[in-house]
Amino acid sequence: MKERLSREAIAMRIAKELFDGAVVNLGIGIPTMVSSFVPEGMTIIYHSENGMLGFGSVLSADEVEEKADIDLVNAGGQYVRPKPGMSFFHHADSFAMVRGGHLDVAVLGAIEVTDCGDLANWMFPGRGVGNIGGGMDLAFNTKKVIVAMEHTTKDGRPKIVKKCCVPLTAERCVDLIVTDIAVIDVTYQGLVLKEYAPGWTVDDIQALTEPELKAAPDLKEIELL
């Protein structure tokens, strides 16, 4: 029986890529959920485009009434908790951090990714319009770019492709792809399948992936914890 990881489980798997003291920017959607799965005791310094570093977790729905403050929001507009050691700064400084290469990890959503690590994630499919936001700067300039996404589109087409059909966010920027069925390293030799969801074979995953996958020597089932 082939299982697909939930969006939360994708976020859990990505949380394992973070390390103590890492400066991390999380995009909207699955990436935002990653912060919920960081192990106790590990300090992650979150960066938000709107000029905030080292803030606390997102408020839960029942905390909003009492604690929410419109002057303490992340880039997705969610209310967050203040945290000792946090800092505020203006937008140009915020992107000096990004462009200057001071961020360790960016977790971004994707519409398409190629085996070269090209990323397309800003043009809404079918709408002919899109928001670039901070994604282009993050994709171009962060030390490690992790893509979090479903492996295929809603109608079952591969999202990992040989060439992006929609406008690019950045060329050759993606380091790791985590989907609902696989964990894939983007290397100079192409895509390396490192982990598979329960019940999936290399052939199953290859059938839903346009470029060729190489199985890693230590290929294993995805471990979330």
């Binding site: 909207i28 303490l72 507009g77 209310y79 992107f95 319009v129 928001n131 901070g134 950045a170």
Partner: protein, 247 residues
């Protein structure tokens, strides 16, 4: 004595002519958006405006509120320079989106870091700069490309404005500003890049009552100040936020 405080938002925007370029502080949510100035500009009615802001208004990420979307609704805008111009929901297109797609409004879409640096450069007297962001994408169209340290980069030009609408927390009469939390975002850089900067603040204090070490926007960048008198009713905790006590 130097006193930049205006009595009303209407008075502060009265001289804005048709065709002006206006920068407006704005990000996800109402914090840091000078919406009383925006409302005054709507009443004032200047047209053919170029708006420089992160969004084109009304993107509805969290709260639904009147930001500069009302300037599009009132057909006052001819061009918008933004990084996040569209609604995230296909079923709820913004007024700006409709006008952009119909060709009524011209859109210049800019990556957010490039947008903020172009504004910073405008305020700092830097006419243009190279950035790696956007090389090899559609951002490259019409731009000079040059390789630095093996990396392709694009030449991006500074942005300046006739007016900047900024939102801050406190001002003194000399125009020094401090901000509160993520309210800061584009506001401090926009304050530097306009001929006339108008600040909308929660509180105005006597000159000398802000800690010089804590001032984020020095008063030379601010021409007019208007204090908010009517609580807009958004969630804030001015009384107990530990970071609000710094000044």
């Amino acid at each position: 004595m130097l006193n930049k405080v205006f009595e009303s938002f209407d008075a502060a925007v009265a001289d804005i002519p048709d065709g002006a370029t206006i920068m407006i502080g704005n990000f996800a949510g109402p914090g840091g958006t000078p919406f009383y100035l925006i409302q005054a500009l709507r009443r004032q009615g200047a047209r053919n405006l170029t708006i420089v802001a992160n969004t084109a208004g009304g993107i509805g990420l969290t709260l639904d509120y009147d930001d500069h979307r009302i300037l599009f609704q009132n057909k006052q805008v001819k061009k918008v320079i933004a990084s996040f111009p569209f609604s995230t929901s296909a079923s709820k297109p913004t007024e700006a989106e409709k006008q952009i797609l119909s060709g009524e409004v011209e859109l210049e879409i800019v990556p957010q870091g490039t947008l903020s640096e172009r504004i910073r450069a405008g305020g700092a007297g830097i006419p243009a700069f190279y950035t790696p962001t956007g090389a090899g994408t559609i951002m490259e169209q019409g731009k000079e490309r040059r390789i630095f340290d093996g990396r392709p980069c694009l030449l991006e030009h500074a942005l300046k404005a006739d007016y900047a609408f900024v939102r801050a927390y406190k001002a003194d009469r000399a125009g020094n500003l401090v901000y509160r939390g993520t309210q800061r975002q584009f506001n401090p850089i926009m304050a530097t890049a306009a001929k006339t900067t108008i600040a909308e603040v929660d509180e105005t204090v006597e000159t000398g009552h802000l800690d010089p070490e804590a001032i984020v926007t020095p008063g030379i960048f601010v021409n007019r100040i208007v204090q908010i008198t009517q609580d807009p009713g958004f969630r804030r905790h001015l009384e107990n936020s530990f970071w609000a006590k710094r000044e």
